[in-house]
Amino acid sequence: MIRIFLCCSAGMSTSMLVKKMEQAAAERNLQVEIAAFSMADFDDAIQKYDVCLLGPQVKFKLADFQAQAAKLNKRVEAIEPMTYGMMKGEVALDQALSLLELA
């Protein structure tokens, strides 16, 4: 089971992308758990999940979050603005998976 979480200001707009990613995963028969959290919940979420994708609008927290994730040997990356705007679940899922393979 792969566990991915998305993170933005309140976890609202990322929850839309979560749905699209779940659809993409279902089409590929991938066993994944995907969730969206607010930035305040990052500390707890990074403990439980394997990888984090950050909404581009909160990219200003990227360095901070990457440092925290590195302590747990986990990775965080920001989602490309266009991927986010178009709600491309496929692309975001691929991004999360590629982060895990490199980890």
């Binding site: 933005c8 200001s9 609202m12 707009s13 839309m16 930035m39 305040a40 500390d43 909404g55 581009p56 609008q57 909160v58 990219k59 200003f60 927290k61 990227l62 360095a63 901070d64 603005p81 266009m82 986010y84 705007g85 178009m86 709600m87």
Partner: protein, 440 residues
């Protein structure tokens, strides 16, 4: 264009991330977030008890409601006092625990130390049986809660890092030893704050620290309730968003302190039956500026959904429903508006026009003033109607601004659509040429 974006990002990103990582700002925002459910429900209770139905001059006057309130209003005030009436107790604990957590200190003791410091200066006990004077535990205590809360956690941190805690011999069980460790910060906070209490109470008629701080911050609070402040805040939020950064998230920690204090003044006036004093209170920006999300993009989303450009049409379609609930990242990043010079112009100007109109309409009492908090995801016109105690002027103002913002976006959208369609056409020709080399 790419280069410009890169430059702007190089300058703004480190700045924004510096601001976003200021621990004090994060703590204030977290404190407000923890308190929000209590404040929202509490202000709805206040609304239900003060509906405009018992004013004989109002066309909605109703006898049964007036009778009901004369009979039962007193019974239902307690939930209001236990929420909005002690707003700063929630905020104080919340900001203390957040700051403590950021410093790697235990959260709950940090929260309690902050709350303790606040109660020490803001909640004088008098008489027998002892009664707490709660007049500064509501929004009026905001600045005090913030200042002494930070002080308390800083003292705690200092004592822990300098190892200045009470040490007991090794034979003492660890659990008991730990309970003594947390004594020193409590003592230190008393030694710092109680002399201030005593000094202030000996001055003239005697004042409380929160009273003093409110007087001190008064010029700043009244400056916050002005058109200039509104325009400045609207501009900063949307400039940051235009650069791809969550503007509201970055500035609302500070702005929220003022809007909550202003809201408190309105609620007090409402409960006392007086004219409401402040305009920029509570969710004023959500009511009239964020119609469909930052930039008032709901109308734009609808216009895009019927656009001739295939790209804009698909973005518009996925944006309408979230837009109703003030979420518009798909439009911001998808259209895109971010770093798009054509749509960027109305994106920054429309909110400023909206707040200007809303400010004047409210100051002339055409629209009502905010007395209640509603969740920021409440659709704009509905939020305006609810938060102003069912004021029809506010409802129509929000609806009018929604229509106006749509029309202001349209000419820019048309220009952008044309440029996109030319691109889409060029791509189609290219594709056709690849499929059928004979044409080329």
């Amino acid at each position: 264009m790419e280069k410009v974006i890169e430059r702007v990002e190089q300058i703004l990103l480190p700045l924004a991330s510096k601001i976003a990582s200021i621990k004090y700002l994060v703590a204030v925002r977290d404190g407000a977030i923890f308190a929000m459910p209590f404040l929202i429900v509490g202000s709805l209770v206040l609304l239900l008890l003060n509906l405009p139905l018992s004013d004989p001059n109002n066309f909605m006057y109703s006898q049964w409601y007036t009778n009901l309130m004369t009979e039962y209003k007193g019974d239902w005030l307690q939930p209001f006092y236990a929420t909005m009436g002690i707003a700063c107790i929630f905020i104080s604990f919340g900001l203390g625990s957040s700051l403590g957590k950021q410093y790697g200190l235990p959260e709950i003791p940090s929260g309690f130390l902050s709350l303790f410091a606040f109660m020490l200066v803001a909640a004088p006990v008098t008489g027998w049986p002892p009664a707490i004077n709660a007049s500064y535990l509501d929004g009026k205590g905001m600045f005090t809660a913030i200042i002494v809360g930070f002080l308390a956690v800083e003292v705690y941190r200092l004592l822990v890092t300098k190892n200045l805690t009470i040490k007991l011999p090794e034979q003492v069980p660890p659990a008991i030893a730990r309970s003594f460790e947390s004594l020193t910060p409590v003592i230190a906070i008393i030694l710092i704050l109680q002399p201030i209490n005593i000094t202030l109470s000996n001055m003239g008629d005697g004042v409380l620290l929160p009273q003093l701080l409110m007087d001190l911050f008064k010029p700043l609070i009244s400056a916050s309730d002005s058109l200039g402040a509104l325009l400045f805040i609207a501009f900063i939020i949307h400039l940051l968003w235009f650069c791809g950064l969550h503007g509201a998230n970055i500035v609302m920690g500070v702005v929220g302190t003022f809007t909550l204090t202003n809201l408190q003044m309105n609620q007090e006036a409402l409960a006392a039956g007086e004219h409401l004093p402040t305009i920029f209170a509570g969710g004023f920006l959500d009511n009239y500026m964020n119609l469909g999300g930052s930039g008032a993009t709901l109308g734009l989303a609808i216009a895009m959904a019927i656009s001739k450009s295939a790209h804009l049409k698909s973005i518009g379609r996925i944006s309408i429903v979230p837009g109703v609930f003030n979420i518009n990242e798909p439009i911001l990043f998808g259209a895109p508006i971010i770093m798009n010079p054509i749509l960027g112009i109305p994106f920054i100007l429309v909110p400023m026009i909206n707040v200007t109109i809303a400010y004047f309409a409210t100051s002339m009492d055409i629209a009502g003033r905010v007395v209640a908090l509603v969740p920021w995801t409440t659709p704009g016109p509905l939020a305006a109607f609810l938060s102003t105690n069912f004021n029809f002027g506010s409802l129509f103002l929000a609806l009018g601004l929604l229509v106006l913002s749509t029309f202001l976006y349209l000419p820019f959208l048309n220009v952008y659509t044309k440029s996109l369609m030319a691109q889409e056409q060029a791509e189609r020709v290219k594709k056709a040429a690849m499929n059928n080399p004979a044409i080329a």
